[in-house]
Each structure stands twice: as structure tokens, then as C-alpha cells.
Symmetry: C2
Subunit: 229 residues, 2 copies
DNA sequence: CTGCCCATGTAAATCGTTACATGATTAC
DNA sequence: GTAATCATGTAACGATTTACATGGGCAG
């Protein structure tokens, strides 16, 4: 369903062909819901069948491009979906974090490589979405320009701020992932080997419940300093 | 593929039946890759066909429970998957953020409701994963206890720290989402209506390139204060 | 005229969700 | 004895990926 409305949302600001969507989508709603061209073409056909968009191929266009524009019903359905408050959230799906979770049986170099790749990936994401967010603040972002065109002038600041916040979410996500990776790498640096762990990332708590039975005696004062916040 | 290895990873520390996985999975790898029981049962059958796990139903068990345990080949394949470094990352898929992106055409109350629900959801997540992370630090987390059981004692701190970091990622994610929502709500409070935007979340940059043609004259000093960091 | 990008698709396979079925056990 | 929970599944559908097909335009 979400791809359906991501495409519909994109088309709510500007008409576009499937190919154009395949490329420009990535900088708009496609940043939050990525899809391959093959799926986009299928979904556009379905949206047209549903009457939420209308496609038109110019007779003189040798490349038989089909340009879609949103219909009145499309705008209505989009609004309904966007404002709907269902309690079902998407299921969490994070393959990289699953990998990390079971990486503790691997060697230090393999762990380090994984975390370094993670950091690099999100550093690039951070740069990308930072730039994108700035383009919104500048008013140079293409889709924002289209959106502001048919928007009451008095509401322009509001719309701009909303779009800015949307991409700010991606910036924050990237920043939090780089920070996470950074803290792990810093901690890994303090480990000579898996047997030589100099610091723990957390304040030791009632660890002795593990070794002896629980005694009701409080934990000894921490011997190691915490590191990650 | 990821569900396959999330299940395999779970079974790498302790044998379990499909039903047990359906419930306990959620606190382990299932936190990063959620799945419904119907899919778990299917995937377990496939894993058994592949010879990565072995299932056994006790003859005297009236409930014909099938308990699966990982095989040697399963451990090998798990390690290969975990350490594999392919450049293909999972596609981004965030329906809530797509919703927010197109919420700018809705009224302030609808926007506020959406963001408040977002905040509430991640506050609950934050609480949940904070507790989980603490259980790991305490050594009381069930799966960690199993994992440490067949682990050289000298490596226990290392493994504990790795598991802690894994769930620390979820804690940070939840914290960043609540922070994002909080900042949007604070900003919304400053807006009397869509036409009365008192503050912008960013430092105004070269906004005038939008209204007049680019002149080469530098931007006027900002008239509004930034708010979100 | 050859290779590459434009532009749109289709087919098959896999992954994931929804709805339903079944029988056994446990708590009241 | 009856309702809830235990425990395992199956069938149908929808979403997504992978691989391939096609035909026009354009640069060398």
C-alpha cells in the first residue's frame, strides 16, 4: 500500500512519466520508500485502474512515454491514507542489525569491518540528506518549488518547514547510525582481543546475580568506567 | 533471506520449537526482523530441508511439538551470512515518514495527532529497549545467559558488550524518533495557523533566489531565529 | 552501423500477510 | 464442560525481486 501512496503523493505535486518517477522519485518520497522501476510501472498501472491517476501518451511521442497526473479522487484517497490513524505499524526489518547481533562469534577484524562499513554508509547518507535539507531551506529543491507553486503564498513557510522536518528525520537517522558505529569502534579500540576487554560500554549493575545466587546485597562499586552514553 | 538467518541465529544459542520462537523471538533477533508465526513455521521447514537445522518431535509429546536445533552446517552458513560484505543494503521503507511527507496539505490538528502518535510509539519502544539493554548489562537476559553458557569465560564480557551494543542501537533509534517528534511538536506550538508561522526550524538561507531572479547580492540577515538543532 | 541510453514493460520466483483449520491441554 | 491457550500448519493473496524483452533515438 505504501508504494501506492508514495507514488500518488509524488504525483500530487507534479505529473510525471514512469521513467521520470523511477529517477526523481528517489529524491522525494522514494527516499522513504524505495522501489525498482519494474514495480513502479506495475503500481502506476494499478493506480490508473483504480482511477486515482490518469495516464496520457502524446500521439506524436515516438518514445510512447506515458505521463500520469493525479485525479480528484486520487487527491481524496491520498488525504485519507495520509491522515488515517491505524495502530498497525510496519514491522521492524533491519538486516544489518541482525547481522551485528550474531557477529559476536566472529573475529575482531570481521566485526570492525562490519561496523566501519555501517559508518561509511550512513556518513554518505548524512551528507546526502543534509544537502537535500539545505536545498529545501534554500527553496531550490525541485519538488518543493512545484509544491509551493499551487500553494497560497501565506502558507509557503509552513509547507517549507514541514518538508524540511520530513528530511530532517532522515538526517537524524543517519547521524544516530554514525554515532552508534563510532562508539562501537571506539570501544573496539580498547579491546586487545576478545579476552582482553578493558572497558564495558555500560555501568556494571548487579552482575553477581549471574555467578552467585541473588543475595540482596547491593552491587560492588563499578570497577570500570562507562564509555558510550 | 534475513528471516532465515534471524531464526538460525536464534537457534544458534538454544534449541526451540516453532511456537517458542514465535513468542521468544520477539525479544531477540525478532526485535530487528519481526515475523508472524505462519511465516516462521514455513521458514523452519525450509531451514530443515536445507539441512541447516534438525527438528525432532518426542514420541511421547501429545502436543507433537517439533524442537529444532542448529546443525554444524547451519553454524557454518550463519557465520558466512553474518560476515558477508555485500554492498546491497536493504531498501529504505518507512511508511510513517511517507505519511508525514504528504501531511502538509492537512490541517494542524491532523498533523499534531500524527506526530503525537509517533512520539508515543517510540516512547514505548524506548522504555522497552532500555529495559532490555539493562537486562543484558545485568546478565539477566535469557538469551544472553544461554549464549554465555557455551562461551569461554574470558570472552563473556566481550559477548555481553556486543549484545548490549546491538540493543543500544534500538534504544538510540527510539530516542532519535522521540526527539524528532518533540521538536516538531514544539515548532507546531509556535504556529497559530498555517498562515502564521512564527519560527522556522532552520536558518533562512538564500531564500530570495526564489522570488526575484538571482542577483548576486547576498542574502539579507535572518529575521527569524532557528529552533531545531 | 554499432553500442549505449531512453522508456516501458512482462514473467517467474520469492517473500510476506491474512484468513482459516485443527486438535490437544489447561484453568475455571 | 467450556473457554482460553498451546501448537502447528495450509491456502490464497499481495508485495517485491530478478531476469529478461523490446523498440526508438543518439553519439561515435
Amino acid at each position: 500500500m505504501s508504494l501506492r501512496f508514495a507514488l500518488l503523493g509524488f504525483l500530487s505535486t507534479t505529473p510525471a512519466s514512469g521513467y521520470t518517477l523511477g529517477r526523481k522519485f528517489a529524491d522525494g518520497a522514494g527516499a522513504m520508500w524505495e522501489a525498482l522501476p519494474s514495480q513502479i510501472y506495475l503500481e502506476l498501472q494499478r493506480l490508473e485502474d483504480l482511477g486515482l491517476i490518469e495516464g496520457e501518451t502524446a500521439k506524436d511521442d515516438k518514445l510512447r512515454r506515458r505521463v500520469y497526473r493525479i485525479t480528484k479522487r486520487g487527491r481524496e484517497e491520498l488525504k485519507i491514507w495520509v491522515e488515517s490513524e491505524s495502530d498497525e505499524r510496519q514491522r521492524e526489518r533491519d538486516a544489518e542489525r541482525v547481522r551485528f547481533l550474531f557477529l559476536d562469534r566472529s573475529g575482531l577484524p570481521a566485526i570492525r569491518r562490519h561496523v566501519e562499513r555501517h559508518r561509511l554508509h550512513y556518513e554518505q547518507q548524512l551528507e546526502r540528506w543534509n544537502r537535500h535539507r539545505d536545498d529545501i531551506a534554500d527553496g531550490t529543491q525541485e519538488r518543493l518549488v512545484d509544491r509551493l507553486a499551487d500553494c497560497p503564498p501565506r502558507e509557503r513557510d509552513f509547507v517549507t518547514a514541514m518538508k524540511w522536518f520530513a528530511f530532517d528525520g532522515l538526517v537524524r537517522r543517519a547521524r544516530m547510525e554514525t554515532g552508534w558505529a563510532e562508539d562501537i569502534l571506539t570501544w573496539l579500540d580498547t579491546c586487545g582481543s576478545k579476552e582482553e576487554v578493558a572497558t564495558l560500554p555500560f555501568e556494571p549493575r548487579r552482575r553477581e546475580t549471574n555467578r552467585r545466587k541473588a543475595t540482596g546485597i547491593d552491587a560492588a562499586p563499578p570497577k570500570r568506567r562507562s564509555q558510550a552514553r
